[in-house]
């Protein structure tokens, strides 16, 4: 089947098998290997991407279901390669040691970016709830919670600064 998907703002058209999983479409066909595959059962969340803005686990979404949709992956989070180009959640994960082996990180980043988009000031309990569909075997989660709070505060400060500047 031919599908057209807007991935990280770029429109791509490919002929794919109907059974192809979105995660394999991204990893194998588009070589966007930042999206990881970890469990097959929609449990671990390492494959989380945003489908029309909504975080989904791409190991249980067919690529054909993304036809005509917008898909955002970790590769599209940062504006560029400079440290200052990183999205605040990326900066927060670095600042607060919110990652160790890095395997769950792309999924965590996509989920928590979506969280901050809908709730710019989440409590630690809200953050834990939001990432409860993501497994991390390294960090014990505490520093991920701190990283998301860091990002929330950084974005609020930036918003305040912009407000003052106006």
């Amino acid at each position: 089947m031919e599908i057209t998907v807007t991935v990280n703002g770029r429109e791509v058209t490919r002929d794919v098998e109907p059974r192809l999983l979105l995660t394999h479409f991204l990893r194998d066909h588009l070589r966007l290997t930042g999206t990881h595959w970890g469990c097959d059962t929609t449990t671990c969340g390492a494959c989380t991407v945003r489908l029309d803005g909504v975080p989904v686990k791409s190991c249980t979404v067919l690529a054909v279901m993304a036809d005509g949709a917008r898909v955002d992956t970790v590769e599209g989070l940062a504006a560029g390669m400079a440290e200052t180009d990183l999205d605040p959640v990326q900066q927060g994960f670095v600042a607060c040691h919110g990652l160790q082996c890095g395997f769950c990180t792309p999924g965590m980043l996509m989920t928590t970016r979506a969280l901050l988009d809908r709730d710019p000031d989440p409590s630690p309990a809200t953050i834990r709830e939001a990432i409860s569909g993501q497994i991390c075997r390294c960090t014990g989660y505490e520093n991920i919670v701190r990283a998301v709070r860091w990002a929330a505060e950084a974005e609020q400060q930036a918003a305040t600064t912009t407000e003052v500047a106006r």
Binding site: L20, H24, R27, D28, R31, L32, T33, G34, T35, H36, G38, C39, D40, T41, T43, C44, A46, T73, V74, E75, L77, A78, L86, Q90, V94, A95, C96, H97, L99, Q100, C101, G102, F103, C104, T105, L109, D121, P122, S123, P124, I127, R128, E129, S132, Q134, I135, C136, R137, C138, T139, G140, Y141, E142, N143, I144, V145, R146, R149, E153, Q156
Partner: protein, 815 residues
Amino acid sequence: MSAGLEGVRPPEEWIRAAVDTPRGYGAMKRKEDARFVRGRGNYVDDVVLPGMLHGAVLRSPLAHARIVAVDTSAAEAHPKVRAVITGEALAGLGLSWMPTLSQDTEAVLATDKVRFQGQEVAFVVADDHYAARDALDLIDVEYEPLDPVVDATRALDEDAPVVRDDQDGRTTNHIFDWSSGDRAATDAVFAQAQARDDERVVTADILYPRVHPAPLETCGAVADMDPVTGKLTLWTTTQAPHAHRTLYAMVAGLPEHKIRVVSPDIGGGFGNKVGIYPGYVCAIVGSILTGAPVKWVEDRSENLMSTSFARDYHMRGEAAVTADGRLRAVRVHVLADHGAFNATAQPTAFPAGFFGVFTGSYDLEAAHCAVTGVYTNKAPGGVAYACSFRITEAVYLVERLVDVVAHDLGMDPAELRMRNLLRSDQFPYRSPTGWEYDSGDYPHTLQVALDKAGYDDLRREQADLRRRREAGEDVPLRGIGLAFFTEAVGAGPRRSMDILGLGMADGAELRVHPTGKAVLRVSCQSQGQGHETTFAQLVAAELGISPDDVDVVHGDTDQTPFGLGTYGSRSTPVSGAATAIVARKVRERARIVAAAMMEANPEDLEWSDGSWQVKGVAGASRTIAEIALAAHSNLELPDGVEGHLDATCVYNPPNLTYPCGAYVCVVDVDPGTGAVTVRRFVAVDDCGVRINPMIVEGQIHGGLADGIGMALMEAIAFDLDGNCLGGSFMDYLVPTALECPSWELGETVTPSPHHPVGAKGVGESATVGSPPAVVNAVIDALAPHGVRHADMPLTPAAVWSAMQGRPLRTDLAIR
């Protein structure tokens, strides 16, 4: 600060901590994070080579069966299939069996029998991953089912089926007997305790169930045999790239210089990626047969069902104690379930790993343990999951036993521990089983933890809740659990520790470029521990340069010195020591060059403030960058001094290092459902000097979550047919953010006297120390219900059953 930020410690505190840390170490952002947060890590499954094919493994659905016939014709006829490999085909190459890390053999692909559910039977190589999986369905295997050995406690029964009838003359499932300590002296203390009115013997049967490290990245490999040069490049998920290279050379007969093992970014290891798995060997054979690179990456079920599990120790612990709470002796018998092949990864002389450290942190007169290993029809493995070579089991045994003693004597577990802990003036301390603990101040560490937790207040709250419950109020059962652990890490002295004859020393190479930037090459392999940062800091501190100016190379056997890799918390104790020493060698070489530069005598120079200075001469100093340029220049050097600025080191540890820690866990148990909520977790670790405290704390956080997982959720159980009941993340439950509290950490610092920078290693401390703290808390909560012990995992069903006086057997599905 916004609402809801309570309990979130700001990162600034790490920066302050960095200033206070000795030697200029401190928290710094990790160098590796820049690629990871951009999705630009390079894991094995991200490796793509031109013309690469894909492999998949056919696995046994049965735990024990004779293979009657394997028909691969339909699979071979699949248009996208390039090769189908069976055990018989491998036998023709002499590769159907391979040696394990415990001097046993393990089937690569089964030939005679399958011996556990999930065992490798055939390997398909196809154009893509989907086609390879399709072809597995086309292979027809005829099995003759056999009775399996599932219950380890029945493995030595006379009528038990023999798992390893491939071994000539074998008539039982017995693997080994191993013991440690002075049996006669221990029995004598127990005889006294039994005879005297003011002493007693306390006994508990304690199971450490089979669990699985389950790193988020599964195991895999990309094998690329160059048919022209005969060089094999193997990208693979290995914690020990050099050991793997040597083993492939020994097993496959490939010349070792024609093997390059590359371990790129590793998505967590925890011991799961120490061994060599059949899939790796199949990928290599697939590449040899097809002449193309072959990628094989297992799925989650394959990872959980077939790769190295951990624990599976059935333990009986006995303590001889005085009525007033003095521990005199401990005696242990262990039945160790090793699965179908004895494939545990541990030093040769230690078939039960370092279980001999079971005397823990206590001042005992005598101790003895006896361990019997058996085969069963379960996946092979045994040493994994951040266990420090079975110290997890040892610490769980003794810490659970001490709590049972406290229960039986009616003593407070904190008071009982404080009474029996080793005192600081006893170090270096030689334990009754022969281990020499290097340093520690255990009562101080425990006191810091008790103070941080507010232990006395916690007990008062608990008493109040119990009174209210008795009065009919609907309040939870509150439990407070302690654990004090002694770890033994950094294996190890090569005179006594080797793996398959390879001594456990590790190398480091350091080169300072002409412009003063340095490259460090090490044999250990990060799986998320942040070696690129910590090891750069180690070099930077020794040479007076910035960690940003040190590149750390690891995980490529063509580019790094030999060493046994990363597991058993050995990176900082062994490779970290090698790094500090190699940097000091470079610094000493720099001294000679600096002396030549300043026309001074090397003896008149002192290392101060990051440069070599002529004593007493203001302004006469040279930094490493200045010296490096001179060392590469036409500067005339003293006779016998070569130019350039580099050095190598092989570090042979004189002893293990012995981190310790005191943990306090507070739980609530819902009396209606048996559900456990962890309210608080206080962890005070002493891992010696902390090079990067941010990374150290991260390591501890992860281990604490492991402890909650093992204590409350995780188990690889089996039904009586040998079906694995933990074969997916929907069955094998690991903790999420909701099961974990906000960790409360503290520290004490007792440097290791023999490590060059006083560091002890920390990677596994929390995984070792936290399970008994959680279990002790749950059992403490259940005390009003008369519960003295219940086995992990303490799921709601297990807790509820224990409250009813019918504890579950958690390793088997028996009703």
